[in-house]
């Protein structure tokens, strides 16, 4: 056993090793002053330095240069040009005498020669072979070397990495942005082919002699699995933390949004000559924290719009980023064209409505964002009360929050309405905003405006609870709403707004839950309030009349049997007279059409002619409405519904041509919707429903081939609705379509 060493000796050696040899003896004396035993140990250790050589070393094997001069298929390796996560890259020359050509040949280095790596290498080969785009380095060839090592021959690009190219040529901002946009085209193209790059960074983008940027190395790319996500893990060494996205360091599946993030980092580096997020030299834990939590440090010297664009691309939450490279690129172009960019203003309302519209994000995330928005509420209230001296600012902040609560209650709610599975979140949102408004109205007593807003909030909450089937909670919310409004009215009987809202709540309540008798008594109360409002002049007469008719409409719905038809006719007349006073009011046109539709339904099969008459009336009105407000999605949707109804009436009469024309028109509307809103579930459902009916039409008229084609298309759209969000009618439609398909003769063309 040799004498043991001390840790001090090791630490001192560690310092000494960083210094040139000639200065070491002095350093040893200095650092070991007065400690002879340590000095002896240090000297003893240093004496071994000559002998370490490759002791315990594994990195140096095998020398990549040993392959130079050997062949990989038709390629002769000339020099090493780089080494990446997957292998070593050589510059190579075509050596089979066929033609002159240079390529970058990538060999899986020996250390990677285990099956897992081989598979990934081969998948890389396939992915790349399918990609052909001017901004993506082309795959020329691929195979296995004589000694069994797989290789890829890629387009050889002579040039500098993009950031160095920009620096070396002193490119202007516009030129840099132009290069970047070309790169986005390449990434967009790859995304369309279900390939995400995963490792976009300046070193992977070379600018060739003609000035074209080329994206290299789909080394870790993997064909996106169905569902748009990939679950392949990213091995330790295949990862560049400086360009890693938050989801990447969290070990979450990567999506095209991860590439958008990397593009954002690259854009910043190109425009500002430094990284917006730099984790070099940080410990992994610290780096992960920075990447997932710390906001990017975007250069203040960039124009604010460009800062906004980059910030949006670098959003921590992938769903808040641009939806793809094309969108990022387009926004950049808008900046270059002097147009406002979509990334601004990043106000809460803007972000929220945008993300709701674009992404079907997990409901929990929406809830989290929402709750965050309210975290400042308490403080604002305190400020409002205390800061008498600074009333202006506090009042403004207070109004802001109040406005926020209102828009959460109403605007966002509407935005969320069509979002699958959003009901629970909408409820949380409504409850939180109501509680908030409630506490405000208690604190700031005697503000009838706040009380009315809270009442409206409870009204909305009650509706949502009703949608969720929480009947007693819902009734309770309606009752609270009424209580608040009655409170306002008790001190100010002339408050028209409160009375109007009260009638509305009563009407909604009546529509929702009571027995027919209960509903009628609520509606009677509502009518009484309307009567009191009449002629008081506190609200526009038109609005009052509208409310009254709505109550009447509800009353009609509550009637049963023949009385129902009679009531609807009455409502229809009232709506018509309203419409006469405001012939261009599309909302009114819609209500009249709705009455027609209810009547058409009430007559139904017993009085088919009358039913068809009302269907046609509704159709004509909805056509008028669609023409008056082009692009109004609800109008077009209503129109499509009318067309299907009209088609079925035509079918009943045996008017095949008419029927077909109606179906065609309905289908083209549905298709247009679906194309415009490919993510909208409703649009897809509507399309399925029309296709299903059209298929039935084809089969009935003996056009079996068309029936099959139509139903297969319906099935394809239907199946693309995720299993977890399929509802009863989806399942019903699918069953009908499947049964239809099964009923077709086997040999139909």
């Amino acid at each position: 056993m040799i004498p043991p060493l001390s840790k001090d000796a090791l630490d001192i050696v560690s310092i000494i090793l960083t210094h040139p040899r000639e200065s070491r003896p002095d350093l040893v004396l200095q650092l070991c002053a007065g400690r002879d035993d340590v000095k002896r140990q240090v000297e003893e250790l240093l004496a071994y330095e000559e002998q370490t050589g490759g002791f315990l070393e594994r990195d140096s094997l095998p020398p990549d240069s040993a392959r130079i001069g050997t062949r990989a298929g038709a390629w002769e390796l000339e020099s090493v040009i780089g080494a990446g996560g997957m292998g070593v890259v050589y510059r190579a020359r075509r050596a089979d005498g066929q033609y002159e050509m240079t390529a970058a040949v990538k060999l899986v280095s020996q250390s990677m020669g285990v099956p897992g790596f081989l598979q990934r290498f081969l998948s890389e080969r396939q992915i790349m072979a399918a990609l052909s785009h001017p901004n993506i380095a082309r795959l020329l060839d691929g195979g296995v070397t004589g000694d069994g090592i797989p290789y890829l021959a890629m387009e050889y690009i002579e040039g500098l990495p993009i950031h160095e190219h920009c620096r070396a040529n002193k490119l202007s901002l516009v030129e840099r942005a132009g290069l970047f946009r070309q790169l986005c085209d390449g990434v967009h193209y790859a995304h369309q082919h279900l390939v995400i790059h995963r490792d976009i960074k300046p070193a992977n983008v070379l600018v060739d002699s003609s000035g074209k940027p080329k994206l290299l190395d789909f080394g870790v790319a993997k064909v996106l699995e169905s569902g748009g996500r990939s679950t392949a893990p990213t091995a330790l060494h295949a990862m560049t933390l400086n360009y890693a996205s938050p989801e990447q360091v969290a070990g979450k599946p990567l999506t095209t949004a991860s590439d958008v993030y990397s593009l954002g980092l690259l854009l910043h580096e190109l425009l500002a000559d430094r990284r917006a997020i730099d984790v070099s030299g940080l410990a992994p834990g610290e780096a992960v924290r920075v990447i997932s939590e710390t906001p990017p440090v975007i250069s203040a010297s960039l124009p604010p719009d460009l800062q906004a664009v980059i910030e949006k691309a670098l959003a921590k939450d992938a769903s808040l980023r641009y939806s793809g490279p094309r969108e990022l690129s387009d926004d950049l172009q808008r900046y270059l064209d002097g147009l406002p960019v979509s990334a601004r203003p990043p106000s809460f309302t803007y972000l929220f409505s945008r993300f709701v519209a674009r992404h079907r994000i997990p409901v929990a995330a929406i809830a989290a964002g929402f709750l965050l928005a309210f975290s400042g509420a308490g403080a604002a209230l305190w400020q409002w009360k205390k800061a008498e001296a600074n009333r202006g600012v506090a009042q403004r902040r207070f109004d802001e929050l109040r406005g926020l609560a209102r828009s959460v209650l109403f605007e966002f709610q509407n935005g969320l309405r069509n979002l699958a599975g959003s009901l629970e979140v909408r409820k949380t949102m409504a409850r939180r905003s109501v509680e908030y408004l409630d506490s405000l109205s208690r604190e700031v007593a005697g503000d009838p405006g706040l009380a009315i807003e809270s009442a409206k909030g409870y009204h909305r909450l009650g509706q949502i609870q009703g949608d969720l089937g929480e009947r007693s909670e819902s009734e309770e919310s309606f009752a609270k709403s009424r209580l608040l409004l009655e409170g306002v009215l008790s001190s100010d009987a002339a408050n028209g707004e409160a009375r109007w809202e009260l009638s509305e709540v009563l009407t909604t309540h009546a529509l929702r839950f009571n027995t027919r008798e209960g509903a009628l008594s609520l509606l009677t109360a509502a009518q009484q309030h309307w009567t009191q409002l009449d002629g008081k002049g506190t609200l526009p007469a038109h609005r009052i009349k509208h409310g009254r008719v709505r109550t009447q409409f509800a009353y009609s719905l509550r009637q049963l049997g023949a009385a129902r038809i009679e009531e609807f006719q009455k409502t229809l007349e009232q709506y018509r007279s309203l419409l006469a006073s405001a012939p261009n009011d599309t909302e009114m046109i819609r209500n009249v059409a709705l009455c027609h539709k209810y009547l058409a339904g009430a007559y139904g099969k017993s009085y088919p002619e009358r039913s068809e008459f009302h269907t046609r009336e509704a159709l004509a009105l909805d056509r008028r409405r669609a023409a008056a407000s082009p692009g109004d999605a609800i109008a077009l949707r209503d129109l499509a519904i009318d067309l299907v109804q009209a088609a079925e009436h035509a079918g009943r009469r045996g008017a095949v041509r008419e029927e077909e024309a109606f179906f065609d028109e309905a289908l083209s509307l549905r298709r247009a919707f679906h194309e415009k809103e490919p993510k909208s579930l409703d649009a897809r459902r509507d399309l399925v429903s029309v296709l299903m009916r059209q298929g039935i039409f084809f089969k009935r008229t003996g056009r079996m081939g068309e029936a099959r084609k139509t139903w297969l298309e319906a099935l394809r759209h239907g199946e693309s609705i995720g299993a977890e969000i399929k509802n009863k009618s989806d399942l019903h439609n699918r069953a009908v379509i499947r049964a239809g398909l099964a009923s077709l003769p086997k040999n139909a063309p």
């Binding site: 001390s6 560690s14 071994y48 969290a250 410990a283 610290e286």
Partner: protein, 199 residues
């Protein structure tokens, strides 16, 4: 063997300071790594070079393919894996020595692992055992540098990878690695000298 999801959950718990989780993850991964090594050896036909790093990475891929792992757990994972590789290599070096001495030990699924590793790097059972002993001495005075050696030598990680795992910089890792090598070289040569086996 626990499922990958259980292992990642355990890793997370361990990251959160649960030492019992560490023990459980160690034993789970140990079994897995042994099986993996054994299956490699069975399909080994000499044309594919087996390296310790690949085993560790392969194990990592297996686990993460089914259940993603966060960065902290990832570093923990590689530390464990390197420690396990050390155990496995040492055990087999010992078993190899026993067999050489005619001990006739029961047929081990892993027999030959060390020899196969030797294909990529001069790694013989004697060296494995010597390094292990020397490393134990380093561990006694400097556990951090000893951990680094485990990652580099048994885990087969490069300097930058080791730096990432340890949360350090490549420059520091390189320096500490060199210091540790001096220490180990002195232990090995000194020991051999003391045992009179040096020429």
């Amino acid at each position: 063997m626990s499922s990958p999801a259980e292992i990642t959950a355990l890793l997370r718990q361990w990251s959160g300071g649960d030492q019992e989780a560490r023990e459980r993850v160690m034993s789970s991964l140990y079994d897995e790594l042994r099986l993996l090594a054994a299956s490699y050896l069975r399909r080994e036909s000499g044309d594919i070079t087996l390296q310790r790093t690949d085993l560790v990475h392969e194990l990592f891929l297996r686990i993460t393919q089914q259940s993603p792992i966060d960065w902290n757990s990832r570093s923990h994972f590689f530390s464990i894996a390197a420690r396990l590789m050390r155990q496995i290599l040492v055990e087999h070096a010992r078993a190899g020595n026993r067999q050489k001495r005619g001990g006739g030990a029961a047929k081990e699924p892993l027999s030959g692992l060390v020899e196969n590793c030797a294909a990529d790097v001069p790694l013989d059972p004697a060296e494995v055992l010597e390094v292990d002993r020397a490393l134990a001495r380093l561990e006694a005075i400097d556990p951090q540098r000893s951990h680094l050696v485990e990652l580099r030598y048994y885990g087969g990680f490069s300097i930058p990878e080791t730096a990432q795992i340890l949360g350090s910089s490549p420059a520091t890792v390189k320096r500490d690695w060199n210091v540790a090598r001096l220490f180990l070289l002195r232990e090995l040569k000194g020991d051999a000298g003391a045992a009179g086996e040096m020429e």
